[in-house]
Amino acid sequence: MAETRFQPARIPGFAAIAMLAFVALYLPIFTLVAYAFNGGTSIAVWEGLSLHWFSKAWANEAVKSATLRSLVIAASAAAVATTAATLAALGTTRRAGFKGQTFIYVMINQPLMVPEIVTAVALLILFGMVKSWTGYQGLGYLILAHAAFCIPFAYLPIRARLEGMDLSLETAAADLYASPWQTFRHVTLPLLAPGILAGAMLAFVISLDDVVITEFVKSGGQDTLPTYMLGQMRRAITPEVNAISTGLLGLTVILLTAFFLLTRKRN
């Protein structure tokens, strides 16, 4: 019965463009994955189905350590960034405007406004100085740098969630003699949880995705998976890069699926 009705939300041509966009988004990724299963030694010619490049990448120590390093940095940076972002979101929303509020917004969103290459160069100079003063060469620099640019990504969904929340529930809790902490713990936080989770996942992936800042900040032997791959692309590209990409892609899809299933159950 709905078919014959006039549908105001339908705009002619939009569905077709959307379909084309989805095809265009996925065709290159499928091509990339297909070539990971190529039996030949070059990326140019298809020579039959094989898992050769997967076993080769799996046996590569450099790939293994880069993977582990990427995960450690992303988890640490996401934890730091999400905690800081949640607090900041609670501080900057749902209260009367105050002097300095704009300053806080600008600071938090600053990494979105500054081109990555500029931050990368700035950190190269600063951390270069600190490295020569202190002699410390560890992963701390990368984690700190990643945490900083992950903050706005964690902040946005948390703030959006807070602003969309119904204040009357908290007022009701307060009316029922809940202390501010009880109200926060039993009303605000559970309502906010999907936003925090979304922020954390966003931060994790943004960190995992980073090439430019990592490339400039890392010390010798601190390759993450993306910088390792970029290094490989400077040489002749073998399907090993396709195999690594496919592995990382698989990880992303698994994480995302789990995330969607989890949040769906909540709702």
Binding site: P8, A9, I11, F14, I17, A18, F22, L25, Y26, L27, P28, I29, T31, L32, A44, A81, A84, L87, A88, G91, R95, F98, K99, G100, I104, M107, I108, Q110, P111, L112, M113, V114, P115, I117, V118, T119, V121, A122, L123, I125, L126, L144, F149, Y155, V205, D209, V211, V212, F216, P226, M229, L230, M233, V241, N242, S245, L248, L249, T252, V253
Partner: protein, 303 residues
């Protein structure tokens, strides 16, 4: 009564700052503060083996547009530098335009699906969004390179006799950036359209507006914050793009990001690199202010 209100207000402001403090400290140390050092470095003299010598000089800033003749030391416009600037701005604007042209219908399509299906379509956008930028750049490379999918199919079909050279051109960089940044446009647009009350469309049509008028006067003004957000999210990384022009543009089709890296690497001219970085930052900030102003103006006009 008023004193009590003032007290509560002061406490609220104190809490706001205390809660924001951890984020502010991290950002001051690892994002905002270091930019000041870049500014200082742009006024120093290049060291022989990279880094800088602590001697004041404005040559870094002059180097943005000019070059010194090696024989008589006169300044003249550096064509190579101008080309890189123009390419960066042009490709970034085109990328924003293309992602919007494709992204708006896509976001609209997703937001108008039934709630159950909406999750699925959104999922399809978020997968590329969550996928490593380098992987996506590499993926588009698989399609457009000379022996890639596109050329192979075209030659097999007999439409081309030899591969169309796309890779290592500006067009390749533009395609790559549009592909890579499309989800950044779709997601904020979707968020805006999703909040859009579809009953307003019925109201518009009831008042005899046609589709174009509804799009122009009802939909666009209301989803404008999403458009602004999407454009910012696409334009800023495009202008400072480093990975995509590097992988798809080859060494020749540098954008400003690659040019900056060159100064900190083989170029061994850190002050020029620093001056270029500050300039890039200023252009980005100007673009952002323009956007913010436009957004505010629109908001007042319809608010």
């Amino acid at each position: 009564m008023s004193a009590l209100e003032d007290q509560a207000r002061a406490r609220s402001v104190r809490n706001a700052w205390a809660l924001s403090a951890p984020a502010l400290v991290i950002l001051a140390v690892a994002a905002v503060g270091p930019l000041l050092i870049v500014l200082v470095y742009s006024f120093l003299t290049p060291g022989k083996y990279g880094n800088v010598e602590w001697q004041f000089s404005t040559d870094g800033w002059l180097g943005i547009l000019f070059t010194r003749d090696i024989f008589d030391e006169t300044l003249k416009l550096a064509d190579a530098h101008l080309t890189i600037w123009w390419r960066s701005v042009r490709l970034s604007l085109l990328t924003t335009l293309f992602t919007f042209a494709v992204g708006f219908p896509t976001a609209w399509f997703i937001a108008t699906r039934p709630p159950r299906a909406r999750g699925f379509w959104l999922f399809l956008i978020t997968i590329p969004f969550w996928t490593n930028l380098l992987i996506r750049t590499f993926a588009i490379n698989e399609v457009i390179r000379n022996e890639g999918l596109f050329n192979t199919v075209m030659i097999r079909l007999g439409l081309f006799s030899e591969p169309l050279r796309i890779i290592n051109t500006d067009a390749a960089v533009l395609m790559g950036m549009t592909y890579v940044y499309l989800p950044l446009m779709v997601l904020p647009l979707f968020a805006a359209i999703d909040r859009f009350d579809m009953r307003l469309l019925e109201a518009g049509y009831d008042l005899y507006a046609n589709r174009w008028q509804v799009l122009r006067h009802v939909i666009l003004p209301i989803v404008k914050p999403g458009i602004v957000a999407g454009s910012i999210l696409v334009f800023v990384p495009s202008l400072g793009a480093y990975v995509t022009p590097r992988v798809l543009g080859g060494g020749k089709n540098m954008m400003i990001g690659n040019f900056i890296e060159l100064q900190f690497g083989q170029g061994r001219n850190w002050p020029l690199g620093a001056a270029l970085s500050v300039t890039l930052l200023l252009i980005t900030t100007a673009a952002l202010l323009f956007y913010v102003r436009a957004a505010n103006k629109g908001g007042n006009g319809h608010g």
